[in-house]
């Protein structure tokens, strides 16, 4: 048999939930009904931002390897030079080239760092820290309100029901929906407006990488390899075993750079595609699946508010 108190508690629970749903729907519609940031959108954003974050280092790494390879090749020229002055000139040129290339590497790193900044802002806009921050201050309010009512009840011998947790939970639900709606709008603006720039920056990076290796490229890496090979075949082979070991290491390094160039070029294409998918995911008109997900998000918010209320109730009891 269900006792009277349990039925009352059940009724209160249902009333609170209904009130919350109505309020949340009202907030949702008043804020434009454009959408809420859903879990699958957040997942898509996280996927993209993690990929673009790690990608931003690749182009600079290619230039860095070029700097080292060309510096070493100038040193090999110096080691087999027929004239002391020329030999010194090769060393100086090696240092100068290395400086110029590391300068270009830094500029590329700085420019590509913008992809990291873009990932960071997408991460921030899709994070739940905003709602978490509100929850903390509302938790304090709920406790304070209930504490004051209890104090009043004790002094005036009244039996006013504490409602602090109810107010705090309702505010939590409403503010959370409102904030998630604002987040959705902000992300939609960001990804839509960023797309042409993302396309342009990825094309510019691809053009730089195409200088190094691949079809229609200037074959910069292959040229460094050819220089090394010609030097070893004509003079280097007369050197001790340590030189052969060093050349083997250089060849391995060249192979790694060539792989990095190819992978970076492919990744640039995929990153552009991923961004387009992200836009579709965030921008598209809501179909049944999306509507269900938005409702699920609303339900999640209702549940979160209800749990929050229960947590406050427990804390205040």
């Amino acid at each position: 048999m269900i006792d009277f108190v349990t039925v009352n508690e059940l009724k209160n629970g249902i009333k609170f939930k209904s009130l919350l749903i109505i309020l949340l729907l009202l907030t949702f519609c008043l804020s434009g009904c454009v959408g809420l940031l859903t879990e699958s959108q957040v997942t898509e954003i996280k996927k993209f931002s993690s990929a673009s974050n790690s990608y931003s280092d690749y182009p600079g790494a290619v230039i860095n390897s070029h700097a080292d390879l060309s510096f070493h090749n100038q040193l090999t020229n110096a080691s087999s030079s027929v004239d002391g002055k020329n030999a010194f000139g090769f060393i100086e040129k090696g240092i100068e080239k290395h400086k110029r290339l590391t300068g270009l590497e830094k500029r590329t790193d700085n420019a590509c760092g913008i992809l990291r900044s873009y990932s960071a802002i997408l991460d921030k806009l899709s994070s739940d820290t905003y709602t978490a921050d509100t929850q903390a201050s509302l938790e304090k309010l709920g406790s304070q309100l209930d504490h004051s009512i209890q104090e009043y009840n004790e002094i005036s011998k009244s039996s006013l029901t504490t409602f602090g947790s109810l107010i705090a939970a309702t505010l939590r639900g409403v503010s959370s929906i409102y904030i998630k709606n604002r987040q959705h709008k902000a992300i939609k603006m960001a990804v839509t407006e960023a797309d042409p720039a993302i396309e342009e920056i990825m094309n510019a990076i691809t053009e730089l990488l195409e200088m190094y290796a691949g079809e229609n490229s200037l074959d910069i890496i292959q040229a460094e390899k050819d220089d090394l090979q010609t030097w070893y075949e004509t003079s280097g082979y007369k050197q001790p075993l340590s030189t052969a070991i060093w050349v083997a290491e250089e060849l391995e390094r060249i192979e790694s750079v060539l792989i990095l160039v190819e992978k970076s070029k492919n990744a640039a294409v995929n990153l552009q595609k991923a961004h387009k998918i992200l836009i579709t995911k965030i921008e598209k008109k809501t179909d049944l699946k999306d509507t269900i997900e938005i409702i699920e998000t609303l339900v999640e918010e209702v549940e979160a508010a209800k749990n929050f209320k229960e947590k406050l109730d427990k804390k205040n009891s």
């Binding site: 230039i63 020229n77 030079s81 027929v82 004239d83 020329n86 090769f90 040129k93 080239k97 270009l104 500029r107 590329t108 700085n110 420019a111 590509c112 913008i114 900044s117 873009y118 802002i121 997408l122 806009l125 905003y130 921050d133 509100t134 201050s137 509302l138 309010l141 304070q144 309100l145 004051s148 104090e151 009043y152 002094i155 505010l171 503010s175 409102y178 904030i179 987040q183 902000a186 603006m189 960001a190 960023a194 042409p196 720039a197 920056i201 094309n203 510019a204 053009e207 730089l208 195409e210 200088m211 229609n216 200037l218 074959d219 910069i220 040229a223 050819d226 010609t230 004509t234 003079s235």
Partner: protein, 110 residues
């Protein structure tokens, strides 16, 4: 796309460099020093062409990154707006908090 003409010139220079380096390695060659001087000139030419192209590509990346920067700035403003809403909610709850406290204290005085 990489300029085909530059690629052709570069290929010619590289091929000449190789020939000169092979000749220079011949111990009996009478003009080894001169061959090395030619090699240095060819190497400088190759560098000039490569660097000018690299500079252009890096400048393109810098230019396009500036466009993304302006979008990020706008997104940052939106994020600040949301932060502002959170701060406002925080302020409202703080005020309500104080009212509740005053009400509680008032009740105890009464």
């Amino acid at each position: 796309m990489v300029n085909k003409e530059i690629k052709t010139v570069l290929d010619d220079i590289r091929s000449l460099k190789k020939k000169v380096q092979i000749r220079k390695a011949n111990a009996d060659h009478p003009a080894k020093k001169e061959l090395e001087d030619v090699y240095i000139i060819l190497d400088d030419l190759e560098d000039d062409l490569t660097f000018s192209e690299l500079e252009k590509k890096v400048e393109n990346i810098e230019r396009s990154s500036k466009k993304l920067k302006s979008v990020i700035k706008k997104a940052k403003e939106k994020s600040d707006d949301i932060d502002d809403i959170v701060r406002k909610i925080d302020k409202i709850t703080d005020v309500l908090d104080k009212i509740a406290d005053i009400a509680g204290k008032g009740a105890s005085i009464v």
